[in-house]
């Protein structure tokens, strides 16, 4: 019981502020990408902030989360340094992965974010392993695993769900259904209606759907699942509907998506929705605008610092392979 009480307290204003930081950060990344400043691809989670923030808001600091190459939001939601993430994306000194991971592998283990995995579906079995260790050690820690709709079609999804359910592990799988498997609509790639929810029964799990653009709804549904997992009631599979406001990666304009569909989802953008709810609850518009101004200044400032910083020390390329710090393979 005490475990649950240590979970982060967060009201809608707090959730909104966290989403806003992610939104302004990702917009900055998009802009820097267009200026040719980002080294390598960058998959933006613009429009999907509510899932990351809502889910992270129910976790204990020692809980583990794990995600995909579209993982900036999930790292930020756990409290990772936006400056260190941007340094990683731009290949500057001080990168969160020391310049060795890049945009697709943002990780902050100290903050409980065990990594962004870029081979679709590969991290679902790894999440099972984190949860397995939690169970063996009776730590009451919970693992939350975010994955995309496309991952529900890969074998690792089945193996992971099957084993998690079989061993009744404390892991909550959250499918971020952003409607597109890269450039193809997910509806064209599944013989069922819902990529994750329609498969839950195969593992003896309850069907759980949530509006992934409603941060409070995500907080409630994921929160219930996390509490159940912490109690020892086993895993959950949640499907959260959302939409990416941009293409698959920053290089993709997303032109294959019908204009009406884009407009329809733009109207469900989680940030304006939270903003409207805060206004309706009596929050002063000037206060809300001040939060946005502060956030823009924060992001702009950290971007300037990163842009002004130098590259990583070239010799560090040979460190971090082995636990002894080196990379030697022979005498």
């Amino acid at each position: 019981m005490t475990a649950v009480q240590t979970e982060q307290d967060a009201d809608l204003l707090e959730l909104y502020s966290r989403m806003l930081l992610i939104r302004r950060f990702l917009e900055k990344v998009d802009s820097l990408y267009r200026q040719g400043k980002v080294h390598g691809p960058a998959h933006l989670g613009l429009g999907q902030e509510a899932i990351a923030v809502g889910a992270a808001s129910v976790l204990r600091p020692d809980d583990q989360s794990i995600g995909t190459y579209r993982g900036h939001a999930h790292a930020l939601a756990r409290g990772a340094s936006p400056e260190a993430i941007l340094a990683e994306l731009l290949g500057r000194a001080g990168g969160i992965c020391a310049g060795k991971g890049g945009s697709m592998h943002i990780t902050d283990v100290e903050r409980g974010y065990y990594g962004s995995f870029a081979i679709v579906g590969a991290h679902l079995p790894i999440a099972v392993g984190l949860a397995w260790a939690n169970r063996i050690r009776c730590t009451e820690q919970v693992t939350v695993c975010f994955f995309g709709d496309g991952a529900a079609n890969i074998g690792a999804f089945h193996e992971a769900l099957n084993l998690a359910a079989l061993w009744s592990l404390p892991v909550v799988f959250v499918c971020e259904n952003n409607q597109y498997m890269e450039y193809s609509p997910i509806s064209a790639m599944i013989p069922v209606q819902r990529p994750a929810a329609d498969r839950a029964s195969a593992y003896g799990l309850a069907r759980l759907d949530v509006d992934g653009n409603d941060v409070e709804a995500v907080r409630t549904v994921v929160g219930d699942a996390v509490q159940a997992a912490r109690r020892g009631d086993g895993p959950a599979l949640i499907e959260a509907d959302t939409y990416r406001l941009k293409g698959h990666s920053a290089a993709d304009a997303g032109a294959y998506r019908p204009a009406e569909e884009v407009a329809e989802w733009a109207a469900r953008d989680p940030l304006p929705r939270a903003y409207a709810a805060l206004q309706a609850a009596g929050h002063d518009e000037l206060d809300l605008m001040a939060i946005d101004t502060r956030t823009r200044v924060q992001v702009s400032g950290l971007a300037d610092r990163v842009l002004a910083s130098g590259p990583p020390e070239p010799g560090t390329v040979w460190t971090d392979l082995w636990a002894d710090g080196g990379s030697s393979w022979r005498s």
């Binding site: 991971g101 283990v109 995995f117 079995p125 099972v128 392993g129 397995w132 074998g155 992971a160």
Partner: protein, 357 residues
């Protein structure tokens, strides 16, 4: 109880797996096992009795789900446990290769060292003309050797098996341990006490001065038998057991070649691109002046493995093939020695080597 170092027990290679696991599980409660059928000992009866001794929270039976097995091992290692995952046949790494190559091998590096992965992947490997054929008979060590971030162990005797497995479990990095299935029945009298053989140190199986034979796993036995035959012909072979491919004890090979001037590398896998190619390239680049004859590789055939005994014999490595390779080298000696002597005359160190010989 015998004192440490006393010869007290006859151990099979199969038992040695259990002994190594038992020793480390007793020593470190974070060591946990998972794999298919392992609570009943597994297909090769290497884990018999461990669930009874350590309980179900230390020994976990899994479905036939190799990706889940290695993913679970990786996640648990990230969380601080020391999992030992059994992959029943090394051939099955092919169905979970993403976990091995893209996740387990690379995550420490890609995160700038934020996580360590102290885990062991172990299981039966190798051909040995046992009728297992193409999909259950491969020696897969060299698959892993292409990938920085993986340590690779392939023991040749029961004592080596127990000691290297223990070292692999204690290692802070991911280690693949290949257990040759044709060796499981091999017996050896081993000393009592702790089994621990450090990774990255080759074993001198036999001292010799005419030719260096380098083996791994079952081919060490082939090299030893070949050395016996060659000794009767007056050829003195130096036999090295590499024990681990990563870390590789290249200095042991180079030092031996400096004395013998001749190198035969014996590997069971197909030769198209085996671990022997890596070993021989090191010697060719770094010890060219020591050589008096071409480097020779004895390898498995470059085809999928057959099953009928007579067909197996065509592609498998054997002591006879090693002997033939050495005889061929010795025959070539007059012409190549002249070239070698010329090279050595340009190198003070080379002259010293020649004098020693």
């Amino acid at each position: 109880m015998g004192r440490r170092g006393q010869l007290v027990a006859e151990l099979t290679f199969r038992d040695a797996v259990r002994v190594g696991l038992d020793q480390e599980m007793a020593r470190d409660e974070t060591v946990v096992l998972l794999g298919e059928d392992i609570s009943s000992g597994g297909v090769f009866k290497t884990t018999t009795g461990l669930r009874e001794r350590f309980g179900p929270e230390r020994v976990w039976d899994t479905p036939i789900s190799e990706q889940a097995i290695l993913g679970a091992a990786m996640g648990a290692a990230m969380a601080g446990l020391r999992p030992v995952a059994e992959i029943m046949f090394a051939d099955f790494y092919a169905v979970c290769w993403d976990l091995v190559v893209n996740e387990i091998a690379k995550t420490r590096y890609m995160t700038g060292g934020q996580v360590s992965l102290p885990l062991v992947m172990r299981g039966a490997s190798g051909f040995g003309s046992l009728g297992f054929g193409s999909q259950h008979g491969q020696s897969a060590e060299n698959w892993a050797m292409c990938v920085p971030g993986l340590k690779i162990v392939s023991p040749s005797t029961p004592a080596e098996m127990a000691g290297l497995l223990a070292a692999a479990i204690r290692d802070a990095d991911p280690v693949l341990v290949f257990e040759h299935k044709a060796l499981y029945g091999a017996k050896q009298t081993v000393p009592d006490g702790e089994h621990l053989v450090p990774l990255g140190t080759a074993r001198v199986v036999r001292e010799g001065s005419d030719v260096t034979l380098v083996g791994l796993s079952i081919t060490v036995r082939h090299c030893e038998q070949a050395a016996d035959t060659l000794a009767a012909e007056g050829i003195d072979a130096h036999v090295l057991d590499l024990r681990s491919l990563v870390p590789l004890d290249a200095q042991a090979v180079l030092a031996s070649v400096a004395r013998t001037g001749r190198l035969v590398v014996v590997e069971e896998n197909p030769g198209q691109l085996g671990w022997g190619a890596a070993v021989t390239s090191i010697v060719a680049e770094e010890a060219f002046d020591d050589l008096v004859a071409p480097i020779t590789r004895v390898t498995g055939g470059n085809i999928p493995w057959p099953v009928a005994r007579e067909l197996e014999a065509e592609v498998d490595v054997s002591p006879e093939r090693v002997v033939a390779a050495v005889r061929n080298l010795m025959k070539r000696e007059p012409s190549t020695r002249a070239v070698g002597a010329l090279r050595r005359s340009r190198s003070q160190e080379g002259v010293q080597h020649a004098d020693q010989r």
